[in-house]
């Protein structure tokens, strides 16, 4: 091991390890960033190892332009792809992994949409209530204070107008974004068919918050918010650093190494751009590398003692991979609908969420503010220009509407992340292989969502032009379940305190610990778990 400061990379950054620290976190997405900030704030010595680069906020406008202008692959926006990010597929359904994540400081929240909801009580008790799926070893009540804290940390704009949401006492940190004109068109139709609409909690500033400005309406939230009004986890990375944490970018962890007794992790071995490997030692390790790389790193960390990978005595590391599935429908109306002014949605309906039973799962409905083409996108790929182009744009823009839905998937052992020994990444490690398929209940759920969407759109008088249902659905890019939480070490990977059963100083705050996924975007729950994990880690220090 080299001492700190001995060698600096070509970019002048010192990536050598620190002397044994209190905590080493792997991954600088929201999970790693929140834990790091909490513990650094509490005065602990901390190193965060991040595989990807430190993005410069000043480049965001250029990234936005890359996302709008044809001539760039969509993965180029956040420099994803290539040997570093290689993966393969082994299941019935193709999983586009690199569209579903970002590697770099801030993690996938650089690209995310920023919708943030609490899971429902039902999601924690799915098996007890419906006879399918499984129960979590913790309930909504256990996470509730952490949810409130997570909303304050991320900065959530929301309103207390959702009668289907789980109970909460404290108001959202910021007022909700007001409904769109398009929402007002949907409102009458929804009333006609008995569907209640309500606001959407957004991790996006509706007013200045936490030193970041209010949303200015670039309309490109996903994949990049140039203004920083959308929360991304680089916010907490900066805060952690100002509290003294050390964050090393371009430092992919290759494996975790345990001590002779086999019950503690001694070091994280990471690579640096100069081709060297280093060991970061720490008292506690927090594995926050996202729902795919987290199980992969555990599997890569096999040893004589643990030939099936670290923390894997249950054999469940990588199993129970889940995502949310999209269902959608849209078309045109004979009046202006004012789409594509902003890149986020302002109304949803969670009315059918708790109706879940053994046959049909939970789902939520979304009313889109970005249905149909965005004129600039059309213009840049058109074969016309001048007056003909303008005529085209006027004809194609203006009266589209659309609805989305997310449906939950049951945890099933055969959906999993494994190592693919036939393909290696830029460091010679086997790449992740995704085995993914749909169960019947999920298909039923998507069908049910489509039925309601059709009812609403028909009532609205929409000419339905497109539908996405069970046969052509795709993932929402939420990687869950791969190191599930439980009390029984034979049936789970981490305990309710988010510590692995097998190793006494290895913690996993991630959607990988989700036992069920519900049908709501996961990151607020990830943030709540990260804050909870920080408490448990601190208690050990």
């Amino acid at each position: 091991m080299s001492g700190r400061g001995e060698s600096a990379g070509a970019d002048g950054i010192d990536r050598t390890p620190s002397e044994r620290v209190d905590v080493c976190a792997v991954g600088a997405g929201p999970a790693g960033a929140l834990v790091a900030h909490r513990l650094a704030d509490a005065g602990y010595d901390l190193v965060v190892l991040e595989a990807g680069e430190r993005f410069d906020p000043a480049d965001r406008l250029e990234r936005m332009e890359r996302s709008i202008r044809p001539g760039h692959d969509h993965l180029d926006v956040w420099d994803m792809g290539g040997e570093r990010d290689a993966y393969s597929n082994g299941g019935e359904m193709f999983y586009p992994l690199n569209s579903a994540r970002v590697k770099g400081v801030g993690g996938s929240t650089n690209h995310w949409q920023g919708m943030v909801m609490r899971l429902h009580e039902l999601d924690f008790e799915l098996e007890s209530r419906t006879g399918v799926g499984a129960d979590w070893p913790v309930g909504y009540g256990d996470l509730r204070p952490y949810y409130a804290e997570a909303e304050r940390e991320l900065g959530v704009a929301g309103a207390d107008d959702n009668p289907f949401a789980p109970p909460r006492e404290e108001p959202f940190p910021m007022p909700a974004f007001r409904p769109s004109h398009s929402d007002s068109l949907f409102a009458d139709a929804c009333e006609g068919v008995g569907v209640a609409m309500h606001s959407v909690p957004n991790a996006r500033n509706s007013e200045p918050y936490d030193g970041r400005g209010e949303c200015v309406g670039y309309g490109t939230c996903k994949p990049v918010c140039p203004s920083g009004a959308k929360y991304s986890a680089d916010v907490h990375v900066r805060k952690a650093e100002s509290e003294g944490a050390r964050v090393i970018d371009r430092a992919p962890v290759q494996r975790l190494v345990h001590g002779d007794a086999g019950n503690r992790v001694d070091a994280a071995v990471y690579a640096t751009p100069d081709g060297r490997e280093h060991r970061q030692e720490a008292r506690q390790f927090v594995l926050a590398a996202g729902g795919v790389e987290t199980p992969r790193l555990l599997l890569l960390s096999e040893s004589e003692r643990y030939p099936d990978g670290l923390a894997n005595s249950s054999g469940l590391v990588g199993r129970y991979f889940m995502d949310h599935l999209f269902a959608g429908m849209g078309g045109t109306l004979d009046e202006p609908t004012r789409q594509n002014h902003v890149g986020f949605i302002t109304s949803e309906s969670h009315q059918f969420y708790d109706d879940a039973d053994a046959e049909v799962g939970s789902f939520k409905l979304e009313f889109l503010n970005y249905a149909g083409p965005s004129p600039v996108g059309t213009a840049l790929s058109a074969d016309e220009w001048g007056d003909d182009l303008l005529d085209d744009l006027r004809g194609s823009y203006g009266n589209h509407v659309g609805m989305g839905a997310l449906a939950g998937q049951l945890p099933r052992e055969e959906n999993r992340v494994t190592l693919d020994p036939t393909t290696t990444d830029d460091h010679g490690n086997p790449v992740p292989r995704i085995h993914w398929s749909l169960d019947e209940r999920t298909r039923n759920t998507l069908e049910r969502a489509n039925e309601i969407q059709r009812e609403i759109l028909t009532e609205l008088g929409v000419d339905v032009e497109w539908t996405v249902g069970p046969d052509d659905t795709g993932p929402a890019f939420h990687h869950m379940g791969t190191t599930r939480m439980g009390t029984d070490p034979d049936e789970s990977v981490v305990n309710p305190r988010l510590r692995t059963h097998d190793l006494a100083n290895l913690w996993i705050p991630s959607s990988s610990v989700f036992v069920t996924g519900g049908a709501l975007n996961p990151t607020l729950t990830i943030a709540a778990l990260a804050l909870k994990a920080a408490d448990h880690v601190e208690a050990k220090l």
């Binding site: 406008l61 202008r69 001539g71 004109h181 949303c215 202006p336 600039v376």
Partner: protein, 179 residues
Amino acid sequence: MELTRRDALAALASGGVVAGVGAAGLRQSLADAPDDGVDLPPERERGLLLAVARVVYPSELDGVREFVETYVAGRADARDGYRAAMRDALATVDDRARAWRDEEFLALAPDDRETHLRELGVDTADPDPEGTDAERIRYYVVNELLYALYTSPAGGELVGIGNPQGHPGGTDSYQRGPR
């Protein structure tokens, strides 16, 4: 529809160019011949850009000259290598006019300029910053101009979108009904 200096500066600002130098300052910078190995005097560069803009912009637009000069100068200056690539693409438009038509592009009648660009294949080319001549002209010249226009408030208004994608037009317009 009148394109204003405000449109150009707004478009510039949303492209990350601090417009503090002001339009005049930006035009000034376009007057300097950069040392990029491309044989294209700045005046000609401006003329070619404007000529292409008149082809690809709708005819009902006024104020195209100032918009193009302000916007393109600011952008091209702000990004490493960008202006050189754009100048190279413009020079290609001109070279081809000389080779195929025995005329400079600027000496062609407006209809012939359009025909020339179509014969180059620029209308149907997939934009690609590292592609063929047609693909680079599409990327660095035609799409550069179209991006500037259709992410600006005036371009949005032409189409009927109050706050086009790429322009930070605030959060009022999405709530408003049609006027």
